[in-house]
């Protein structure tokens, strides 16, 4: 039976062990280390990008109003409602190219409530109250400058996500 004391795990200890013991130790540890190594290896090489954006306090603006990420990356976006005074609700909605005006009209008509699978929308956080933080994640679309807005203030709270190659 192997005795896994600190001395045995020590490199110098291995050199002094008999050959049969060393082989047995290797035979035991090698498959185990391969299995563990395989389990830890990421399944894909997809880049992960964490983005943070917030409202400009109680004012109707995003801070910052431009964000950047590479195409194909898994984007994990966190939006914080930094208001302290006004009880307006906000969110962050990323829109397909050329769909800004259509979505703005839709948001104004429906009081900022968008359907779950809105065809204009790439990704969106839920609406949140002052002091709250919400998140969304999505795969960054092909390169381009994608508009984003707050669906409850679509004419004021706007910005651009630069998706690079």
């Amino acid at each position: 039976m192997l005795n896994f004391t600190s001395d045995r795990m020590n490199v110098s200890g291995l050199h002094s062990a008999p050959l049969a013991r060393r082989r047995l130790l290797f035979a035991t540890l090698a498959p185990l280390s391969i299995l563990l190594g395989c389990g830890r290896r990421p399944k894909s090489e997809q880049q992960v990008v964490d983005l943070y954006i917030e409202s400009d306090g109680d004012f109707l603006a995003f801070r910052p109003d431009t964000l950047t990420c590479p195409t194909g990356a898994l984007v994990r976006l966190k939006f914080h409602h930094a208001g302290k005074i006004i009880s307006a609700r906000h969110n962050w909605v990323l829109i397909y190219l050329g769909q800004l005006e259509a979505l703005t009209k839709e948001a104004l008509d429906d009081d900022g409530i968008l359907p779950k699978d809105d065809p204009h929308v790439i990704a969106a956080t839920p609406l949140c109250d002052k002091g709250e933080t919400v998140t969304t994640q999505f795969i960054a679309p092909p390169p381009g400058d994608y508009p984003f807005l707050c669906s409850t203030h679509p004419e004021d709270m706007r910005g651009i996500l630069h998706v690079t190659k």
């Binding site: 006004i86 203030h153 004419e155 651009i160």
Partner: protein, 152 residues
């Protein structure tokens, strides 16, 4: 100049400088005041937008936000002299009442033209509040929002 006139001249100059100095130097929380005034304009503009879009059901919520901005102004002038506070609060009360009238009308008389006329009166009442503050603290109601908005 006679030596005994010098203190009188200095006192006159001092008083003149005090009177001429902007009120902002005397305000205890100018940043909070500026924020509150900007929020009043922001919500007032939202009122107008909801009336134009005929989103009448949304107007009472705008009124609630207006009262929140008004409360922020109350807090911002908390430490100011009583006579100044009284002036602001009298005018602010009139502005809030005018905004309430728009809100009440939106439920009873959902007519965009009449609501817009009433909103104009509320804006006049709000501007009367702004006149009590130095020009550099007053928001420009026609200023575009601070953003890098895309065209489409």
């Amino acid at each position: 100049m006679k030596p005994r006139r010098i203190p009188a001249v200095l006192a006159t100059i001092g008083i003149a400088l005090l009177v001429a100095s902007p009120v902002v130097a005397q305000l205890k929380s100018p940043d909070d005041v500026k924020t509150a005034l900007r929020l009043l304009v922001q919500v007032s503009n939202d009122f107008k937008r909801q009336i134009t879009a005929k989103n009448f059901a949304r107007i009472p919520h705008e009124y609630m936000e207006y009262t929140e901005a008004a409360d922020a102004l109350h807090s911002a002038i908390k430490g100011e002299p009583a006579d100044f506070k009284a002036k602001v609060e009298t005018r602010l009360k009139a502005a809030v009442e005018a905004a309430k009238k728009v809100s009440d009308m939106s439920a009873n008389t959902p007519d965009a033209d009449k609501l817009m006329a009433e909103h104009d009166k509320a804006v006049t009442a709000m501007n009367a509040v702004f006149e009590l503050f130095p020009a550099d603290l007053r928001p420009d109601p026609n200023a575009p929002p601070r953003r890098g908005a895309p065209k489409n």
